[in-house]
């Protein structure tokens, strides 16, 4: 037998096995769960986000199933880890869609990794609900939705807070040039800050695997600014704030929701005095839906939720609501139902999906005080 024919023989055999193994499409009976896919950074540099995301999703699915599921069927979660690495998200999302045949995909917390998976979901016509705040994520196509507010809003909120609340005149911006989220947020902040009459005295850049920021911070210190804006992730922000304080920079340091992680406090401790960031959620919020969620989360995990878990919870809520209204797991009808979401009571605020598939919701500004971040002010859209 020649090599060529044995190759074809093998292919034919595999094909035959495949046909036997894959069951024919069954009619949805009440025992077949509705499969939802999720991908997150369960390990790696942003592991605290991925793990928190998983907790939020699991809690939400437990709650939906306890209430009888959707369409009379329970929800089932298939979650995949992308190790916080670029490149892995597209692989695991392809696997979720092709092998696990999920009806929709949830994730990611990061805009950069959401942007990797979004084109695949769009191409395969699978609805995806992201937490990423960079506007480009939902611009990929009409199957991509999000539950977080977008960076232009976040940047504008922080610029207004810096100008009006902290009375900052001159500011420096230190951006992670390798991070789509940070570059976008830095730009939106700068535009609004200048439009409000402030001066951006200096812009410096770094890349995300770096550990030494003293060179950039020394230049910033020499520029004589009142405050510093760092639109990066907590892994670097913790080191940046510590090194800035070490070099004697005492002004306020501001950032976006990329700061939200308990590890930030572990890394920088009391150096975080006089730092503020903008978040999607606050445990001090008085909304009844939020209070109920916090009580539920504390009972389940014996600690307070951060700002990632509530958004993950809302992503499942958004999907369950759309599945109920669509009355089917057909992805085209599900997409239309998601796009028509209006006035849904979420735990991070009331969610209405706009024409760009973004939610309209308030931003919470938190400041470091007595060893933790506390609510300073709430800014509505």
């Amino acid at each position: 037998m020649s090599l060529r024919s044995s190759f074809f023989g093998l292919c034919a055999a595999l094909l035959a096995v495949g046909t036997v193994l894959v069951p024919p499409a069954r009619a949805a009976d009440s025992r077949t769960p509705v499969r939802i896919g999720a991908y997150a950074s369960l390990t790696g540099s942003e592991a605290t986000w991925g793990q928190s995301y998983e907790r939020g999703v699991r809690l939400a699915i437990e709650d939906v199933n306890a209430a009888g599921g959707v369409l009379g069927r329970p929800l089932e979660l298939v979650i995949e880890d992308n190790r916080s690495k670029s490149g892995d998200s597209s692989t695991v999302v392809r696997k979720l869609i092709v092998r696990d045949k999920v009806v929709a995909v949830l994730g990611e917390v990061s805009s950069g990794r959401s942007l990797e998976a979004a084109p695949i979901c769009q191409q395969m016509r699978v609805p995806m609900i992201s937490n990423g705040s960079n506007p480009k994520v939902t611009e990929v196509g009409d199957y991509i939705f999000r539950v977080a507010y977008i960076d232009p809003f976040q940047g504008a909120v922080m610029a207004r807070f810096a100008r009006e609340h902290l009375k900052v005149g001159r500011i420096a911006v230190l951006t992670d040039a390798t991070n789509a989220y940070a570059v976008g947020l830095g730009r939106f902040f700068k535009e609004r800050f200048i439009a409000d009459g402030g001066v951006v005295a200096l812009e410096q850049r770094y890349s995300s695997s770096e550990r030494d920021f003293k060179a950039q911070l020394t230049a910033i210190r020499a520029a004589g600014v009142d405050a510093l804006f760092v639109p990066g992730y907590y892994t670097e922000v913790g080191l940046i704030v510590s090194q800035a304080r070490e070099l004697g920079f005492t002004g306020p340091v501001l950032g976006g929701d990329g700061w939200a992680s308990p590890q930030l406090i572990e890394l920088a401790g009391n150096n975080l005095k006089d730092t503020y960031y903008c978040d999607n959620f606050s445990v001090e919020s008085e909304e009844p839906e939020t209070r109920r969620f916090i009580a539920r989360f504390r009972a389940r995990y014996q600690e307070d939720p951060d700002s990632i878990a509530p958004l993950a919870y809302d992503a499942v809520g958004l999907l369950a609501d759309a599945l109920r209204r669509a009355g089917t797991t057909d992805r085209v009808k599900l997409r239309s139902a998601l796009a028509a979401t209006s006035g849904l009571a979420g735990v991070s605020g009331t969610i209405t999906i706009d024409a760009q598939r973004n939610p309209q919701k308030p931003a919470y500004i938190v400041g470091f005080k007595d060893g933790r971040y506390r609510l300073v002010t709430t800014i509505a859209p």
């Binding site: 790696g44 592991a47 916080s84 410096q204 550990r211 030494d212 230049a219 210190r221 892994t235 070099l247």
Partner: protein, 296 residues
């Protein structure tokens, strides 16, 4: 002016760490004529050894800090000698390329075993030494920066003494010059090579601890970039040459810091490596290296 001095200080303290790692590359190259790429993995293991040892001793004391530093150096010396015994010794006499590929394999093995054992999540390194900040006009000097420069300097002087003033140092130089002739006059080559790996790995561990003290976030892939930079520093100074490695490290750290503090911060690696290319064009053997024609 104070900005210039501050940047110089930042650069020298970063360069001192590069220099420590570069010494390991250069020593092994000097003796065995091959680049030990596993060195950056040993650097990472050193930092993690410090992380676990740091939990056992009281935080922020000089004695505790020294115990952690020495403990990690001993642990990594043992690791370096084990790697040499298991991975490189069976290949003695094989083409250099085989050893080089093995070294890359060992490097990946250490990094990904690290991910499995320690987890990929970054850890916060404890404050093992007491810290203070000194203000000198506009200049802020942290005790950590002084520590890095001081410890590096002491270790480099010690190394120089070992290589030029002790019997084992003489044996190392003999093996470097001609392994066969060294064996003929009664040098135990295997013991000398093993010692060289131990010494180089101990320096990598010290580098790992000093790096982690300054930038207290450690993860299993933390060694990749510093390892690459130190390798470049070793080439820049003239590979095989100990003062050259120190000079190369300091030069690279300083240039990198000055570029990072300018408007071209994103190009800092490109510019630092560009300078390397220019220097090698004019001095192919590195700054302090001697150009030797390979005998065929």
């Amino acid at each position: 002016m104070s900005e210039f001095l501050q940047q110089l200080l930042n650069g020298v303290s970063l360069g001192a760490i590069y220099a420590l790692i570069a010494l390991g590359y250069t020593m092994v190259y000097g003796v065995l004529r091959f680049i030990n790429f596993a060195h950056s993995g040993v650097f990472m293991v050193g930092a993690f050894a410090g992380y676990y040892l740091g939990k056992l001793v009281p935080e922020g004391t000089i004695a505790g800090g020294l115990v952690v530093l020495l403990g990690a150096m001993v642990a990594c010396a043992a690791l370096g000698m084990t790697i040499e015994r298991l991975a490189y010794r069976p290949l003695r006499g094989a083409p250099t390329l085989n050893v080089l590929i093995t070294a890359i394999g060992v490097s990946l093995f250490l990094e990904y075993t690290g991910q499995l054992v320690f987890g990929a999540t970054p850890r916060t390194f404890p404050q093992i030494f007491p810290t203070a900040h000194f203000h000198l006009g506009g200049l802020v000097i942290s005790s950590n920066q002084l520590m890095v420069i001081g410890v590096s300097f002491v270790l480099m002087v010690l190394l120089q003494l070992i290589v030029f003033r002790t019997r084992i140092g003489t044996a190392m130089r003999a093996v470097a010059l001609n392994p066969n002739a060294a064996r003929l006059v009664g040098v135990n080559n295997d013991a000398v090579i093993s010692f060289t790996f131990g010494l180089g790995s101990a320096l990598a561990a010290a580098g790992g601890i000093l790096y982690a003290i300054n930038y207290p976030s450690i993860d299993p892939l933390m060694g990749v970039m510093p390892g690459l930079k130190a390798f470049v520093a070793a080439i820049l100074g003239g590979i095989g040459n100990i003062p050259g490695a120190a000079l190369g490290g300091l030069l690279l750290g300083t240039v990198e810091t000055f570029v990072a503090g300018s408007q071209f911060s994103t190009y800092k690696d490109a510019i630092a490596f560009g300078i390397l290319i220019v220097i090698l064009l004019f001095r192919p053997a590195g700054l302090l290296g001697k150009f030797v024609v390979e005998k065929v």
